[in-house]
C-alpha cells in the first residue's frame, strides 16, 4: 500500500476521467480537423471539454487554448505578452516562480530584456510596495504564480493584476498549482493570461491549457496549423483534452469539499509540530493552498527523511539539494531567507481528494521515529542551535 502525499508533483487520474477519455483512445480516433462526421464527433467532444474548462475558471470557451502542459503555457504566455508590446523591454516576476518561468526570464535577459525578480519574506509573501516600485511605463509583463508549488503560499493575484493594469502591463498567472484547489473567477479579474496543467488535477500528463482574455493581443508560439483557431498549431491530443474537460468538471464539484482536505492537512501539520520538537511550517503564517504543507525538520537532511518515509510506503517530496539532482537547496525556501538548519531538512506533503485520515495517521505514527533516528546520527542538535544560528548568519552575509 502506498500513501501518496506528493500531489503537487502529479495526481492520480480520476476513474471518471479515465472512463471519459478511453473511447478516444480506442474507437473514436477521428481527427477533429477532418471534414467528415467521424472527425466531427471528436470535434464536438473537444468543444465540450473547452466549455468544462472555461466553466471552472469563470471564462468563456473561446478564451481557452488547449496545449501540452504547464511549461508550454508559461512559455507561450510570456512570448505572447512580449510580442504584443514589442516596444516594452521590462518584465516583473518573483524569485519563487517555477523554472518554466525563471528559465525563460533568464533567457530573455540575454536577449536584452530587463527582469525584476520580486523578493518574498520569511512567510513566502510578496511586498506589493516592491512591485509598485518596480513598475514602469516600459513594463511589458508581470508574471507571478497563483500559489507556490513548494509551500502552497497564495499570492494576491487580484491586487497584483490591478497594479500591472495601472501601468499598462500584461498580467500572466501560472495557476498550475491553484486550479481545482481554490475558486477562480476570471470573468471579473485583471488576469490576461493563465496557465493550467491537467496532471495536477487528476487528468493525465501531457495536457494543459492557456487562458487568454478576450481581446488580448495574442501572438502564437507554435506555428503551422489552424488548430485552436490558429493560436496553437499541432494535432489535438483528443483523449487528453476530453480528460482535462472531465477533470475540470469534477474539480468544480470537489471545490465544495476542499475544506476536508485542509482539515487533514492541518491534522498532519499539528500532529508533527506537537510530537516532534524543532519543526516549523515553512510559509505557515501565510494564506495557503488547502492541500500543501512544507515542514522543516531542523538538523537533518531532506533526502534522508524521504528515503526513510519511502521504506514505510509514504511518498512525499523534498526541496533539498539531494533529491532535485542539483546541489542547491530549494530556490523557494532560499528566497524566503530560511536558515540552513531548516533549509536542507524540509519536506513537502501535498494531499488530494483521495487522501484519507488513515494515511495521515500513518505518517504521524512513523515520523517521530524517523526524525529521532536521523537526529541521533547527526552531529548537529538543539544544544548547538545558537552556534548554528551564528554560523548560518555568517554564511548568509
Amino acid at each position: 500500500m502506498v500513501t501518496y502525499l506528493d500531489n503537487n508533483a502529479t495526481t492520480r487520474i480520476d476513474p471518471d476521467v479515465l472512463a471519459a477519455m478511453l473511447p478516444y483512445l480506442s474507437e473514436l480516433y477521428g481527427n477533429p480537423s477532418s471534414m467528415h462526421s467521424f472527425g466531427g464527433q471528436v470535434g464536438a467532444a473537444i468543444e465540450t471539454a473547452r466549455e468544462q474548462v472555461a466553466a471552472l475558471l469563470g471564462a468563456e470557451p473561446t478564451e481557452i487554448i488547449f496545449n501540452s502542459c504547464g511549461s508550454e503555457g508559461n512559455n507561450t504566455a510570456i512570448h505572447a505578452a512580449l510580442a504584443a508590446q514589442p516596444e516594452k523591454r521590462h518584465i516583473v516576476t518573483t524569485a519563487v516562480e517555477h523554472p518554466a518561468i525563471l528559465a525563460v526570464c533568464k533567457h530573455l535577459e540575454k536577449r536584452g530584456y530587463t527582469v525584476t525578480y520580486l523578493s518574498v519574506d520569511g512567510r513566502g509573501e510578496l511586498d506589493l510596495m516592491e512591485l509598485e516600485a518596480a513598475m514602469t511605463g516600459g513594463t511589458a509583463l508581470v508574471t507571478t504564480m497563483y500559489a507556490n508549488n513548494e509551500t502552497g503560499v497564495i499570492f494576491p493575484v487580484e491586487q497584483i493584476g490591478a497594479i500591472a493594469k495601472a501601468y499598462g502591463a500584461a498580467y500572466h498567472v501560472d495557476a498550475v498549482q491553484a486550479v481545482g484547489k481554490v475558486p477562480i473567477d476570471l470573468s471579473t479579474s485583471p488576469i490576461d493570461l493563465l496557465t493550467l496543467s491537467g496532471h495536477k488535477l487528476h487528468a493525465p500528463k501531457g495536457i494543459g491549457a492557456l487562458y487568454v482574455r478576450k481581446g488580448f493581443r495574442f501572438r502564437p508560439f507554435l506555428l503551422g496549423g489552424h488548430q485552436e483557431r490558429g493560436r496553437r498549431a499541432g494535432t489535438h491530443n483528443v483523449p487528453g483534452i476530453v480528460a482535462l474537460g472531465k477533470a475540470a468538471e469534477l474539480a468544480q464539484i470537489h471545490l465544495a469539499h476542499v475544506q476536508r482536505e485542509a482539515e487533514l492537512r492541518d491534522l498532519l501539520e499539528c500532529g508533527i509540530l506537537t510530537t516532534i520538537p524543532d519543526t516549523v511550517v515553512n510559509g505557515g503564517g501565510a494564506l495557503r493552498l488547502p492541500n500543501t504543507t512544507n515542514i522543516g525538520f531542523k538538523y537533518i537532511e531532506g533526502e534522508a527523511i524521504l528515503f526513510m518515509l519511502n521504506r514505510e510506503g509514504i511518498c512525499a517530496s523534498s526541496g533539498s539539494a539531494c533529491t532535485s539532482g542539483s546541489l542547491d537547496p530549494s530556490h523557494v525556501l532560499t528566497a524566503m531567507g530560511l536558515p540552513y538548519t531548516i533549509l536542507h531538512g524540509s519536506i513537502r506533503f501535498s494531499l488530494s481528494r483521495y487522501t484519507t485520515e488513515a494515511e495521515i495517521r500513518q505518517v504521524l505514527a512513523v515520523m517521530p521515529e524517523i526524525v529521532e533516528r536521523l537526529r541521533a546520527l547527526s552531529p548537529f542538535n538543539n544544544d548547538q542551535a545558537e552556534w548554528l544560528q551564528e554560523r548560518d548568519l555568517a554564511v548568509a552575509t
Binding site: Y299, I300, E301, G302, E303, A304, F307, M308, N310, R311, S320, A321, C322, T323, G325, S326, L327, D328, P329, Y340, T341, H344, A376, L377, S378, P379, F380, L388, R391, D392, V395
Partner: protein, 301 residues
C-alpha cells in the same frame, strides 16, 4: 529517486558505528575527531577515532553525519574500512575505496565519499598536530565561493579520481553546484592539468636520465606546478628512496608538501633509528634536491 546499491541502502537504514567515542582516559589511548562540511553546505561529517598510540593504529571509529542517504552510508562504510588500520594505512584510503566498499555510488553523489576521506584526514592530522585548515587552504585561492572550495581541493579531486569534465568536478567536490559562476574557472583548471599531464609524464623520465649521467641538474626548464611537484616527489620517493630504506628495515611515506617543505613520516627501523636525521638529509633530501628541485627541504613529522 536515486539508484542506490543494496549496500548503500543497507548502511543507510542500519548504519554501523554511529555515534561518538568517550575518551577512556587510559594510557596509550587517544580519542580525537575530525570534521568536514557544514550545515550550510548541506552535509557534514564528524569522524571520531580511538587510537592506540604505541602502534599508531585505529582501535575504533564512529561517525556523526548530517546529510543524505549516501552521506550516511559513506560515513558508515568509512568506519568499517579503517578499523584496525594504522594511521598511515588509513591515510592511503581514497574516496574511491569508500565508493567501492559501497558497491558504487551514483556519480552525482561521489562528493559524499570525498567527504569521508577528508574527515579521515582531518582526524588524523588533528591527532598528529597538523593544522587542518592550513593544510586545506594552503595554496588555496577559493574557486567556488558558494561551497568554499579551494583550488587545491579541486586539483586533488581531479588528480585522484582522474576527472575530465566540469560536471564530474561538481559531483565529486560540489564546486560549481551553486550559482555556477565558478564553472569557467574549474574548466580552466581542468584544461591546465590536461595540458601539463604530458610534461608530468616526461619529467621523471628526464630526471632519471640525468641521474644516470653525472652532468648538470635535470630541473625542468619551466617551473613545476604544485601538482607536478608533488607527483614528482612521490615518484622519486617511491622509486629511489623507499627501496633503500626498505632494505634496511625502514620505510617512509610522503605526508604533505608545503611550498618547499616536504613532510615525510619515517617508519619502522628508520623511525626509531638514532641516525634518522642523516637518513633525512642524505638519503631523502639529497635525492629530492637532485631529482626534483634544489630548494626542497625534508622534514620528518
Amino acid at each position: 529517486m536515486w539508484d542506490y546499491s543494496e549496500k548503500v541502502l543497507e548502511l543507510f537504514y542500519n548504519p554501523i558505528n554511529q555515534g561518538t567515542i568517550d575518551d577512556p582516559q587510559e594510557p596509550d589511548v587517544a580519542v580525537v575527531y575530525g570534521e568536514v562540511g557544514s550545515i550550510a553546505c548541506g552535509d557534514a561529517l564528524r569522524l571520531h577515532l580511538k587510537i592506540q598510540q604505541s602502534t599508531d593504529s585505529i582501535l575504533d571509529a564512529r561517525f556523526q553525519t548530517f546529510g543524505c542517504t549516501s552521506a550516511i552510508a559513506s560515513s558508515s562504510a568509512l568506519t568499517e574500512i579503517i578499523k584496525g588500520k594504522t594511521l598511515d594505512e588509513a591515510l592511503h584510503i581514497t574516496n574511491q575505496d569508500i565508493a567501492n566498499f559501497l558497491g558504487g555510488l551514483p556519480e552525482a553523489k561521489m562528493h559524499c565519499s570525498v567527504m569521508g576521506q577528508e574527515a579521515l584526514e582531518a582526524a588524523i592530522y588533528k591527532y598528529r598536530g597538523i593544522e587542518v585548515e592550513h593544510h586545506e587552504d594552503d595554496d588555496g585561492t577559493l574557486v567556488c565561493t558558494c561551497y568554499g572550495i579551494s583550488e587545491k581541493k579541486i586539483r586533488r579531486a581531479i588528480a585522484e579520481n582522474r576527472l575530465t569534465t566540469v560536471e564530474q568536478v561538481t559531483n565529486y567536490v560540489k564546486a560549481g553546484g551553486g550559482c555556477g559562476s565558478c564553472l569557467a574557472d574549474i574548466e580552466d583548471i581542468l584544461l591546465e592539468i590536461q595540458h601539463s599531464a604530458e610534461s608530468v609524464k616526461v619529467a621523471p623520465a628526464l630526471a632519471l636520465d640525468k641521474e644516470q649521467s653525472t652532468q648538470a641538474l635535470p630541473y625542468p626548464s619551466t617551473p613545476l606546478t604544485n601538482l607536478q611537484k608533488i607527483t614528482l616527489i612521490q615518484q622519486v620517493i617511491d622509486t629511489e628512496v623507499r627501496p633503500l630504506l626498505l632494505a634496511d628495515g625502514g620505510d617512509v611515506s610522503l605526508h604533505d608538501v608545503e611550498g618547499d617543505r616536504v613532510l615525510v613520516k619515517l617508519q619502522g627501523a628508520c623511525g626509531s633509528c638514532p641516525s634518522s636525521t642523516e637518513t633525512l638529509k642524505y638519503a631523502i633530501e639529497a635525492k629530492l634536491k637532485d631529482l626534483v628541485l634544489p630548494s626542497l627541504i625534508v622534514e620528518a613529522i
